[in-house]
Amino acid sequence: MKNFNHRHLLGIEPLSKEDIIQILDTAKIFKGICKGTNKKFPALKGKLILNLFMENSTRTKSSFEIAEKRLGADTLNFSASASSLSKGESFYDTIKTLESMEPHIVVIRHSSPGSARFLADNINASVVNAGDGAHEHPTQALLDAYTIRETLGTLENLSIVIAGDIKHSRVVRSNIWLLKKMGNRITLSGPPTLIPRDIENLGVNVDFDFDRAIKDADVVMMLRIQRERMVESFFPSLQEFNMLYGLTRKRMRTLKKGAIVMHPGPINRGVEINSEVADSNRSVILEQVSNGIYVRMAVLFLLAGGRINEISN
């Protein structure tokens, strides 16, 4: 098995199809190990991983922390509110301070697109992008892919609908890269105000008619709607959003047999997804959360120079 040929995971865009498969296969092995009695696999023992979360996050941060701990790494959480950022320290100076702590890997969440790359350009460590503004969120796309492959048995030739706030979503961008590279058809749906200009040029379809879009879908992925988008007049009310673009029970009944429902969380019940759908057997939302741990273990392991054959026998 060849080495994973990347120093950082800044996005899905720079990855090849083979890279993606390698990460997913590695994650699968970790899932097998973690389902056993000994959940630890201390491949990163003695390595320092810094979790630099400069924007709120609960699930992604927790998932990374669990992954790091299962790999036996030393971890340090550095969150924006607890740092000197509030005192006006520049991002650059924060990076230089962190570099002095000699981390092997830095996991970063930041509100600004390109911030993970800025970090990678200025620090002597591997960088994992845990979400940079509306740009990319590669581990989310990887865990989504893992979940699709595990549930449907394939990650090719599927019809995938992603719906909701496309404009402000990093999840959708990473998913487009990944699912296109693997050879799937993607349709985006949502109010035109939340579909960014020229996104069709990424090789996706856009259908403002959500009912029509989901008819032939194998996967329907709903995105979180933030209330502030309503204040900014992207749509008039949460209720109206639910009427036009919410995944309701009525809409769920029109889905193809075997089609699954996904959501990166946290979900807004009654807005983009209704309770009957989120709690139905079509929903794989909680599987996505569990798989996140194994995918993140795989990413950290591979970036640290680990090889899949070290763990498979």
């Binding site: 520049s90 991002f91 650059y92 697109p113 390109g114 790359r117 800025f118 990319e136 960014p196 200009r197």
Partner: protein
Amino acid sequence: MKFLIKNGQVIDPSEGLNKKLDVLVEDGYIVMISESIDENEADAVYDVKGCVVAPGFVDLHAHLREPGGERAETIETATMSAMNGGFTHICAMPNTSPCMDNAAIISLVLDKAKSAGFAKVLPVGAVSKNREGKELASIGEMVEKGIVGVSDDGSPVATSDLVKKALEYCIPFGIPLMEHAEDLTLTKKAVMNEGFYSTKLGLKGMPSIAEDIIVARDIIINSYVKGWLHIQHLSTEFSLNLVRDAKSRGEKVTCEVTPHHLFLNDSYLETFNTNYIMKPPLRDERDRLALIEGIKDGTIDAIATDHAPHPNEFKNCEIDIAAFGIIGFETAIPVILDLLYHKHCVSIERIVELMSINPAKIVKIDNERIGEGKKADLTVFDPDREVTINSFYFKSKARNTPFNGLKLKGTPVLTVFGERVVECKVGD
């Protein structure tokens, strides 16, 4: 002090001059122009074989940052930088702190420029008091001191009412209202041009229509009041067409474009390099090519740098909080020659028109500046010498340029303004 500029091709389209001539300068004046002047006539000789000797270049758009922003640039460093880049005259935009909205500050800027002793500073006064878009600034008093135009640059003139009054009020002074065209309601918190790349990168976009709406508004008002409208840093195809149409109706509308909007497009943002962040934003390839067409068909009157120095820490940061703008004096000539002369076959005469003759006309510098008895006001450049831009040599205090390290064909060689002579060096 007597020096000879020897073997250059002297080009001044304003007097139909394009000839290999020697130019002898003494105490800041051209004393002799002839096909061959003996080297012994001079104390020093600049052999500029293969170079063009043109009337000094005029930059209609620059931010000198003084007063108030001296950490980024001072009038002294800006005027040195201008001459190192080949400019003898630069227009100073009024968005300083305090802003250039009254005669006293205009005098201060002119005094500083005079004592610095490099390129000549031509101040542009604010349209409105404190650039707030409410009341007209004391334009007449500033004209007395020497402003060459009015602008609320950095922001558009706030309302149609104020545009109308400013255009009307400036008619007797014969100066243009210079407009920074940006509908601010469409550009809130935005970082780059709205389009495929802003979508791909997840960066908030400024739609091209934010510019077009203000250009259209101003052209409509100007056609009504019959004033003089000058569009600053025009960047879109649609706006260019609006200006073209206004000109064809005989209305007095002029415009400038920057070297970076001609040379770069929004795909460069893929690097997330903050030196590609400016206002107006780098537009898409279609707009860029339209601007080059506008250069060729004469719609565009002038090339202006929009020199916008910033301290390093305002650029070495997250892209969505980075300061807008890049420095431009010391890269303009290489960028323009490489792109327009070498890649797009625009003639040297046309380039001299765009960077010297036309902007001079707009700010009322006499044409036919090359002649015996005239004050020495010359830009000498080598259209064929390759240079790798190296900001190490820049005289500007700032280093915010996306062109550092770029290999370009064409470079400034010598700038002469009165008794000031600068041997230009912007790269290796």
